[in-house]
């Protein structure tokens, strides 16, 4: 109804929240933290990509994927393969029995570079693959599942099974994947060392920039008619279908988008951390990613970002001082968020802080802030716990 220029929303209250996040990530944290800590934040931020995808997929569309680690890992592995090939020049690996291939292949008696490694000599191919490999897998899973109307708990568990399959596969095929250790010892990106403090800081800012690109894409999708159809689908899937929409196509699209976001996050993770391993792919990391999103607020994009930052910061804090208490805290977090505040931090903020803001700035309540959060909507249709219909 109101739309002057595509960016006019930046001046609204919502725009201020984005600005505040930008201020925090671009100015405050870099000034306040030493390069080591800033690199840690950079690492946490790569999970924010997954969280944004989950907000779109789970919060908006009601599709809970417990396999986002798969896509995060695929993006990360694509980047790691490129970096590993760069590190494995024939000169650098002259002592191996087959020079010019990654060291772990040599240890595992692989004597030639496998075919699927070949294209990762090219950086542009790698960048495309970071998006397309997760996107393609999500597409295949999406077509197979959504066309047959598999949803809810079934979908969640099958994505979890896929996470489990991929982890076992990566660990089992160590000659091709680096096995349980993953792909390690990554030094340079096109000749530029990624291990120095300066490089890590640069990568941090690249990460922040990319995150905002993804946030804007997600926001655009969410505010388009597409976004309203997602919400409508979560609510009354049949009504959407009988309003003339191919529901499966919408689900496939949003699932692919979330997978690609996760892939980008994974690739940035590899760059920030300097290695990639199956421990970021499996069941446990995948479901932890869901809690980032749940804590931040499953309906809020920015909430997802803060959730990823906070949970990971807490995890590092706990693991440094009380490692044995962390699993308890994490477990309590899962239970607490779901039982006590299913709308997460964003919901609490909306409920308690926003009215304060209103009073403080003596504004009228924002245009339509009070739209009730769809608290328990996702599961209104109980019989749908078996929501597998005849195709």
């Amino acid at each position: 109804m109101k739309s002057s220029s595509p960016l006019s929303w930046l001046k609204s209250r919502e725009g201020l929240y984005y600005l505040a996040l930008a201020l925090l990530l671009v100015v405050i944290l870099p000034l306040a933290l030493d390069p080591f800590r800033l690199n840690m934040v950079g690492k946490y931020l790569t999970y924010a990509f997954v969280a944004i995808g989950l907000v779109m997929c789970w919060g908006k569309a009601g599709i809970l994927s417990l396999g986002q680690g798969v896509f995060f890992g695929l993006g990360g592995y694509c980047m790691a393969m490129f970096l590993k090939l760069e590190a494995s020049t024939p000169e650098a690996t002259a002592h191996q029995s087959t020079p010019g291939i990654p060291d772990f292949m040599d240890w595992n008696q692989v004597t030639a570079l496998p075919w699927f490694w070949e294209p990762f000599h090219s950086f542009s191919f790698t960048l495309i693959a970071v998006l397309l490999v997760p996107g393609l897998l999500a597409f295949i899973i999406g077509v197979a599942m959504f066309k047959r109307r598999v949803s809810g708990v079934y979908f969640a568990i099958i994505t979890q099974a896929i996470a489990s399959i991929l982890t076992i596969l990566i660990i089992g095929q160590q000659g091709y994947t680096g096995g349980v250790n993953g792909i390690t010892d990554l030094q340079t990106l096109m000749g530029w060392s990624i291990r120095t403090d300066a490089a890590k800081t640069t990568l941090y800012f690249v990460g922040v920039g990319t995150l905002f690109v993804c946030l804007f894409v997600a926001r655009w999708v969410q505010n388009s008619k597409f976004g309203r159809i997602l919400v409508a689908m979560r609510d009354q899937e049949n009504r959407v279908r009988f309003s003339g929409y191919d529901v499966a196509a919408f689900k496939i699209f949003i699932f692919c988008l979330a997978a690609m976001f996760a892939g980008v996050g994974g690739a940035l993770f590899t760059l920030q951390v300097g290695f990639m391993s199956p421990s970021f792919v499996g069941i446990v990391p995948s479901i932890e990613m869901v809690v980032f999103c749940a804590l931040g607020g499953r309906y809020s994009l920015l909430g997802g970002v803060y959730g990823a930052l906070l949970v990971n910061a807490a995890k590092s804090g706990f693991s440094e001082s009380f490692p044995e208490l962390w699993p308890y805290a994490m477990g309590a977090l899962f239970i607490g968020v779901v039982l006590a505040f299913p709308n997460g931090l964003a919901g609490l903020y909306r409920r308690y802080v926003m009215p304060l803001e209103d009073r403080l700035f003596s504004r009228k309540p924002a245009a339509r802030p009070a739209r009730p959060e769809p608290a328990r909507r996702e599961d209104k249709t109980l019989p749908d716990h078996l929501s597998v219909e005849k195709p």
């Binding site: 597409f226 009988f242 003339g244 919408f250 769809p374």
Partner: protein
């Protein structure tokens, strides 16, 4: 008359659930601009017939021709695009969206993934939404979340969501069930407006209401057509009386 001259030709339609035939060798024909009401006791298979036409349930056998197209082979959203609109028995509106957005989602544009991303809320859309909203008595409530509407208002909204699609055939499943007397009267008025330029297939129990609107009535019993004709004809059909008044 060739069967493609009818708007809708249902022939030999059968569906069985694990051997139980909910609809059994059913045939009926709808002419353009006709108002047809299906009545019948509970479990007669009325709702299942609508489910079959709109693709929610797949037929075991038989054919459904609609404007020369075979609906039994089409997907749900394709059937909608062919011109069939269906209202469910329980009001199913999008409670988290506003009334405006509910109608806008149903507006027949931007129905593909890409189309919906590029969709713009232009003057034509706003005009169409407002005009339908006036018809369904919800013009003052466009900005309200649909979840806050009363039961009757939700029913009207769902009818409005069908109207904005401009379907050639409207199927309504018990449109006045659960409504107050005042709402019922208003709905009858609404249906009379609608029936001026739509073909309508209605399931209804309220005989007064049926008598008011129906051109022809089809009585279903145990998945089959028991009787068909004008309201007076079926009311006096001994088989119908037998089924309704018991043994």
């Amino acid at each position: 008359m060739n069967k493609d001259d009818f708007l809708l030709a249902v022939e030999g339609l059968t569906v069985s659930f694990d051997g139980f035939k909910a609809v059994d060798d059913l045939s009926f024909y709808l002419e353009p601009q006709e108002i047809r009401v299906i009545i019948g006791p509970n479990g007669a298979g009325k709702t299942t017939v609508l489910d079959l036409i709109c693709g929610k349930t797949r037929a075991t056998a038989g054919s459904i021709r609609f404007r020369g197209k075979e609906l039994t082979k089409m997907k749900e959203h394709q059937i909608v695009h062919a011109g069939v609109g269906r209202k469910f028995q329980n009001p199913s509106v999008f409670e988290d969206l506003t009334v405006f957005e509910n109608l806008e989602v149903s507006y027949p544009m931007g129905h593909t993934v890409m189309g919906s991303l590029a969709f713009k809320r232009d003057a034509a859309v706003i005009e169409a939404v407002e005009s339908v909203a006036r018809t369904i008595f919800l013009h003052d409530l466009l900005a309200e979340p649909a979840g806050l509407l009363s039961h009757g208002q939700k029913q009207w909204l769902e009818i409005g969501m069908l109207l904005i699609q401009k379907p050639a055939l409207l199927m309504l499943d018990e449109p006045v069930a659960g409504m107050s007397v005042a709402e019922r009267k208003k709905t009858a008025e609404l249906l009379r407006v609608i029936t001026r330029d739509h073909t309508v297939l209605v399931i209804e129990h309220d005989m007064q209401f049926v008598g008011d609107i129906a051109d022809r009535v089809t009585v279903m019993h145990q998945g089959k057509v028991l009787s068909e004709g004008s309201i007076d004809h079926v009311k006096n059909d001994p088989r119908v009386i037998e089924v309704y008044l018991g043994h």
